[in-house]
Amino acid sequence: MTASRVVERLLQTLPVLFGISVIVFLMITLTPGDPVEIMLADSRATPEQADQLRRDLGLDRPLPERFLVFLGNALVGDFGISFFHRRPVIEVILERLPATIELTLAAMLLAIAIAIPLGVAAAVKRDTWLDRALSAASLFGVSLPGFWFGILLILLFSVTLGLFPVGGRTPFDLEVPRVSGFLLVDTLLAGRPDAFAAALRHLVLPAVTLGLPTAALLARVVRSSMAEVLTSDYILFAEAKGISRRRVLWRHALKNALIPVVTVAAIETGSLLGGNMIVETVFGWPGLGRLVVESIFARNYPLVQAAVLLYAVTYVLLNFLADLAYTALNPKVRL
C-alpha cells in the first residue's frame, strides 16, 4: 500500500467533503430569521449598530463570497464566536468533545466485544438455537428506538433496581483535574480509583444503550461472513493439514471473515455519531451531541453549523479509514 495510493484515495474524498461544506453552508444561510437580530436580541442596539454588525460579519456580501470565507475559516478551525458562551465556537466544541469520544469509543468496544464471539459461535453452530436467537436479537436491535431503549434501561436499572445512576457523567461532587478530558484516564492519572469507579458506573448505561443495538447488527454480519468463509476450500485444506479446529477458526477463518465486518462497522459509526445526540440527551451526558441539541433550541446557529460540519467530516474520514483498512486486510487488493 504505497503512500501515493493513500493520498490518491484521500483526494477522492475531497469532492464529497466539498459538497458537505456547501450543504452545511446553505443550511445556515437559508435559515429563516436574521442572525444579527438573534445575536442582538437582548441588547438594545440601534438599527445603525445592527447594520454595522452586519457589515462586520460580512453578511451583506454575495453568497459565493460568503461561502469562500466560510470555507477558509473552517479550514483553520475558525467558526466564529458562540454568543451564548461568549467564547469561540471551536473552543466550546473541543471542550465537550472528549465526553462524546469516550462514550462512542466505549459503545464501539462493547459492540465489538459482544459481536465477534457471538457471531463466530453462531456461524460455527449454524441453524441451532444460538443462531436463531442471534437472528431474533438482531432484528430486535434494529427495530428498537434508541431513545426508548435508554429510557427503558434507566427505568429498569436505575429507578427500579438502583444499580446505576440515572444520568450524567459524574456524581455531583466529583472534582478531578482535567488532563485529557477523558474521565476514565484523568481519574486514574489523579490516583483516584473511587472516582474511576464512579465514572465507569455512569458510563455503563449510556454505552449499553448506544452499543447493544450496534452489537446485534455487527454480530449478524460477523455470523454470515464467518459462515461463508467456513465453507471455503482453504478451510477444508487447513483442516486436512491437521491444524487444530480452534486455530483454523480464529486464525484462518476470522482474518478473512472480518474484512466485510470492518466496512460495516465504519458505516455503523455514522449511526453512532447520530445516536450520540439522542443518548446524550436521554442520559444528560455532557458531550457534543447534547451541546448541539441545546444549541438548536438556543438558536446558537454558528455552533450547530460547526458541529454538523465536524460530524460529517468525521464520518467521511472514518469511511476513508475503513476503506484503507479493507485494502490492507485483503491482500488480493494490495498493489
Partner: protein
Amino acid sequence: MSVLLEVRGLRTVFPTRRGPVAAADGVDLSIDAGEALGVVGESGSGKSVTFLSILGLIRPPGRVVEGEIRFDGRDLRRLSHAELRALRGREMALAMQDALSALNPAFTIGQQLCETLVAHGLARSERAARTQAVALLEKVGIPAAAERLDDYPHQFSGGMRQRAMIAIALAGRPRLLVADEPTTALDVTLRAQVLDLLDDLRREGGLAMALITHDLALVAERCARVMVMYAGQVVETGPTREVIAAPRHPYTRGLLESLPRLEDPDRPLHPITGQVPDLARVDTGCRFRNRCALATPDCARPVPLAPAAPGRLARCIRAAELA
C-alpha cells in the same frame, strides 16, 4: 507389499430435503504402501466423499454412519478428534483441485508451509521452519524458492500454485496422499508436469496415492490399479491395464467407449445414454440398470462386488459375459 489403507463397508450419509442420501454407500477399497490407486467416476459418484470420510473431514450434518477404516492397522473411526487430527497432514494428506481456493488468500505460501511444519513438530523454530519450507518448494520445482516464500497465493502462476499446494500437502511427509482432481484445472502441458512431479515424489518417498479423477485416460497413464465408482458404490476394481483392456462392468465399458480416440478421429462419439439415478431414491438393486444394455430382471436384486477374475472385482451379475 503391506496394506496401508483398508476400508470396509463405508457409508456416509447426508440429510437432504428429499431424504437422507448415502453419498458413499458400502464402499470397500484398499491401498498398499507406495501404490497409486486411480479412483474414477463422474461427479456425484461418491469418490471425493469417500476419501473425505477416510480423512475425517465430513462436516455435520453429514455423517459417517458405518464402516471400518483401517490405516496402518488402526481403526480410524475409533480415534478421538485429537488423534485423528494428528494423523492428518502427517500420515495422510489432501491435495485439492483448485490451488487458488485451497490456499488461504490472507497468508503467504511461506506462512502456510511453516504452519504445517510447526503443527506437526517437524520444525522447532521459525528459522528452521523457513529453511525446510524453502527446501520443500525447491523439491516441487519452484524456482527462486527463498524469495517466493513471502509471496501470496495470488501472486503465483497456476502451475506454480499447484506445486506449492502439493508442497504444503506433503510438508508433513505423509504416507498417503489423496489427490482430488489435481490436474483438472490445469492445461495439458502443466498437467503432465504436475503428474510427473507426483510420480517422482512417490518414487522417492514411497508415497501411496489415491488419484481421484473423472478422467479415465489419466488413470491409464499413471496408476497401477484403478477403482471405478458409480452412484456411491464401487462397481469395478483391478489392475489398470487389465481393466482397460477388458472391462468387467458395463459402466466401465461405457466410459471407455465414450472416450474419443486419437487414432480414429472420425469415429462417432458413444456417450452413455440415460442419467445417474437420484441418490435419495435408489433401491437395493443395481444402480446402473436403467442405462445398461445388458440389464435383466435379475438386476433388480442386490448385486455384490464379486471377483470377476484374479485380482479383479466387479459389481455385475453378467461380468463374465463382458470378457
